[in-house]
């Protein structure tokens, strides 16, 4: 069977296509909203492949005997097999093949940094463009959902074991999914009033429609997972109380990295300097783009100059949001060069198409304000790249005497997030690192506290959706083994 899935040739419409012919197919471009139009709305930028485009793209995959792309995927999706199914036109089969390893393909197909993962490993990448694995993943997941074919996974008979999942972001959702399938009672606690974590408050609608996130959550509900919003674990209830008073047998912490870093430069507290978290939460979660129909305001960007400091996906999200809110000039200010930017290549590309101005190799040194203490500008210094630093990237070094002032009305700081100290403060027996991330055994995601597991950004620091998801699944497996192991020994007694 397996060998059949790795055919040297495809037969389509009674025509056999050879490897050479497949290599001749160009990478199929993702259809997208026109840049001039999309900067006036918050609708999704990418429109998705049609079935024809998807099949064309899938046929580019030469079905390697040793599919190295799989090694590039943090959760080892059977990429060759699902792409083969796409080429054959079995889109539902393809969606289900992905879901064996990834419970949130519609989301990962949109937000994974494929060029650093699966597509980086694709053998085609050496001479041609890699197979658009991410676009195909997105297509099959959308196809399954839009045709009403999402299957609620089968849930095993109740085990009588109850697990608390703290946080409803990617780590928590994937952990909850697996635990529910294993027959455990799962309650997910969320601090905000909406479920989805960073997928809701952080990633904008134009990159990840919120409806998709909510539909994924609905599937979990159908599987019997309970959700409680407005619960800040550490404040509303502690982990010890969940275990000792509320009868949870295990706890998974997937609270993310939610404490925004600032730069510590003069003027950072001027009116008009915001964290990316605040700016994006106002717009995404609180729907400030719809003010005054929505009650939450956001800084009025119309005709203003906005600078976003940072080079990651969040920075791209923030600057493109500012543009959509009517900014005259929307700048990315980044201290290294474009090659070092952590953002997905597609986001950088989209940002440029939308007229985002990239001020590279520049570092802010001081924010300046008027007599009312409102931001008027930022003093930047130009940088050049020196020797590689700890991250392997060349260290930016300031060029003496190159300071200049960039006039801006709003500054958005997007240089990353630290850990929220709440869990640490209220559960001191959970070991944390110097960076305040939770220390775990990477094989099980177990923390130093009995029956408490953790995964996602609270363990790794700011990382990706797919890594958080993988961690949630690893933890679910370990929690299941622990709980069921315990259960067996009770039975033996």
């Amino acid at each position: 069977m397996h060998d059949d899935n790795h055919k040297e040739t495809y037969t389509m419409d009674n025509k056999t296509i050879t490897t050479k012919e497949r290599l001749a197919i160009p990478r199929q471009e993702m259809p997208a909203q026109d840049p001039a139009e999309r900067v006036t709305n918050f609708k999704e930028v990418n429109l998705g492949y049609t079935a024809e485009l998807a099949q064309q793209e899938a046929m580019r995959c030469i079905q390697c005997k040793d599919p190295v792309c799989i090694k590039g995927c943090p959760v080892n999706i059977k990429i060759d097999e699902f792409i083969h199914l796409v080429a054959e036109g079995d889109f539902l089969g393809a969606a289900r093949k992905i879901k064996e390893d990834n419970v949130l393909p519609a989301i990962c197909g949109r937000v994974c940094p494929q060029e650093d993962q699966c597509e980086k490993e694709c053998v085609l990448a050496k001479k041609h463009k890699p197979v658009a694995i991410g676009n195909l993943e997105r297509f099959v997941a959308d196809y399954e959902r839009e045709t009403g074919n999402v299957k609620v996974p089968t849930v095993k008979a109740p085990t009588g074991r109850k697990v608390a999942v703290i946080g409803s972001g990617p780590a928590g959702l994937s952990c909850a999914n697996d635990l529910a399938q294993m027959g455990h009672e799962v309650v997910v606690f969320e601090a905000l009033h909406e479920l989805g974590g960073v997928l809701m408050y952080g990633v904008p609608e134009f990159r990840l429609p919120k409806e998709i996130v909510q539909q994924e959550i609905d599937v979990l509900r159908e599987m019997g997972v309970t959700f409680q919003t407005d619960i800040v674990v550490g404040r509303s209830v502690t982990i010890d109380e969940l275990i000792e008073e509320e009868g949870f047998h295990a706890v998974f912490i997937g609270v993310g990295a939610g404490l925004p870093w600032f730069m510590g430069i003069p003027g950072e507290n001027l009116v008009g300097v915001l964290s990316a978290n605040e700016f994006l939460t106002r717009v995404n979660l609180m729907k400030a783009y719809d003010f005054p129909k929505s009650d939450t305001p956001v800084f009025d960007c119309k005709g203003k100059n906005v600078a976003v400091f940072g080079g990651g996906n969040t920075a791209m999200d923030a600057v493109r949001t500012a543009k959509r809110l009517g900014a005259e000039h929307a700048y990315i200010v980044y201290r290294r060069s474009e090659a070092e930017m952590p953002a997905r290549v597609e986001e950088i590309h989209h940002a440029k198409e939308e007229g985002i101005e990239f001020l590279l190799l520049q570092n802010p040194v001081e924010f300046q304000g008027d007599d009312r203490h409102w931001l008027t500008g930022v003093k930047c210094v130009k940088m050049e790249l020196g020797e590689p630093d700890d991250s392997g990237r060349r260290r930016p070094v300031a060029i003496e005497g190159s300071e200049y002032v960039l006039p801006i009305d709003m500054a958005v700081i997007s240089i990353g997030n630290g850990s929220n100290p709440l869990i640490k403060q209220t559960t001191p027996d959970i070991e944390v690192s110097k960076r305040e991330t939770i220390v775990v055994d990477v094989n099980t995601m177990a923390t130093s506290k009995e029956n408490v597991y953790a995964g996602g950004d609270i363990v790794t620091g700011g990382a990706t959706v797919i890594l958080a998801m993988g961690a949630g699944r690893t933890a679910a497996k370990a929690i299941n083994e622990k709980l069921m192991g315990t259960s067996q020994s009770y039975d033996e007694w």
């Binding site: 601090a191 009033h193 509303s236 507290n269 009116v271 009312r372 203490h373 709440l422």
Partner: protein, 281 residues
């Protein structure tokens, strides 16, 4: 959904609510707050928990109609529901037996000064309360304050009740009388808190203020509530809301609270206008 059990106006535009929130009622300590969101289109606003009843699972909040959300809240009655209330948030007040402690509440700040006065009393302090209001009909929690105070003072700006003047004048009078004061807590409008800090500063009296910056989530995520305390930047939602009054940069706090001034008044005006049209107000 959180059910309002009782609702009553304490003064013009200032309303007290008891709301079913069992988890919060059980955990809440003096000085903590909740984030509240009335309905789907609503914003999240921080409100201090004035009291709680862990047995009945209710919390008490006191809201002064100042903007769109508080005006809308103040139209709610017993039996109505609030979509979201999350808490208790913030670091609880640091309470110990300081000796003689003064709890000062200005306007709706009395809602916070009161629970802290209770906690100070329970810790064994000699408790003095100064309850400041614009005029007699705006005095809040008079009886409650009295019941926990060894000395209770009321000041009104217009002299219609109690001491004629500001809370700072009463405070200065108490200091001048030679009383040894070990601790002052001040909660109210920013100019009042700043003025209290200036009164106690020369005497080196430990003084704490509870700050009310703009917040979105209230859990440390947005950083909108950052305040300058000494040389450091602090998040009022997780590091506070109480800080050393002598270290707080009140000017910066005041400036930052004005960022959405224009939007807030427009939103409030359109709400009030609609209410008048509908005859609700």
């Amino acid at each position: 959904m959180f059910k309002i059990v009782s609702a009553q106006f304490l003064a013009e535009n200032i309303k007290k609510f008891e709301i079913e929130a069992p988890r919060i009622a059980k955990k809440r300590k003096a000085g903590q707050f909740v984030m509240l969101r009335i309905g789907t289109r609503g914003e999240r606003i921080p409100l201090t928990i004035a009291d709680s009843d862990p047995l009945n699972g209710t919390i008490t909040i006191i809201a002064q109609g100042a903007g769109r959300t508080t005006h809308e809240l103040n139209q709610k009655e017993a039996g109505d529901f609030i979509d979201d209330i999350v808490g208790p948030l913030g670091t609880p007040s640091h309470i110990e037996n300081f000796g003689t402690a003064i709890s000062i509440g200005g306007g709706v700040g009395a809602a916070i000064a009161y629970p802290t006065a209770v906690a100070l009393k329970e810790a064994g302090n000699y408790v003095i309360t100064i309850n400041g209001a614009r005029s007699k009909d705006m005095v809040l929690l008079e009886n409650e304050m009295k019941s926990v105070s060894d000395e209770a003072y009321i000041t009104t700006d217009d002299g219609s009740y109690g001491f004629h003047g500001f809370v700072t004048q009463k405070l200065q009078e108490l200091i001048d009388s030679g009383k040894k004061i070990d601790y002052v807590l001040a909660i109210g409008p920013i100019p009042m808190m700043k003025a209290v800090a200036e009164v106690t500063r020369p005497y080196g009296i430990k003084t704490v203020v509870s700050l009310n910056p703009i917040m979105v989530d209230g859990t440390g995520m947005c950083g909108g509530c950052r305040v300058t305390v000494g040389d450091e930047i602090k998040f009022a939602c997780v590091d506070g809301p109480e800080f050393d009054a002598h270290q707080v940069d009140f000017t910066n706090l005041n400036d930052r609270n004005r960022i959405y001034g224009k939007e807030e008044s427009a939103s409030d005006e359109s709400f009030q206008h609609r209410c008048r049209l509908e005859g609700n107000n």
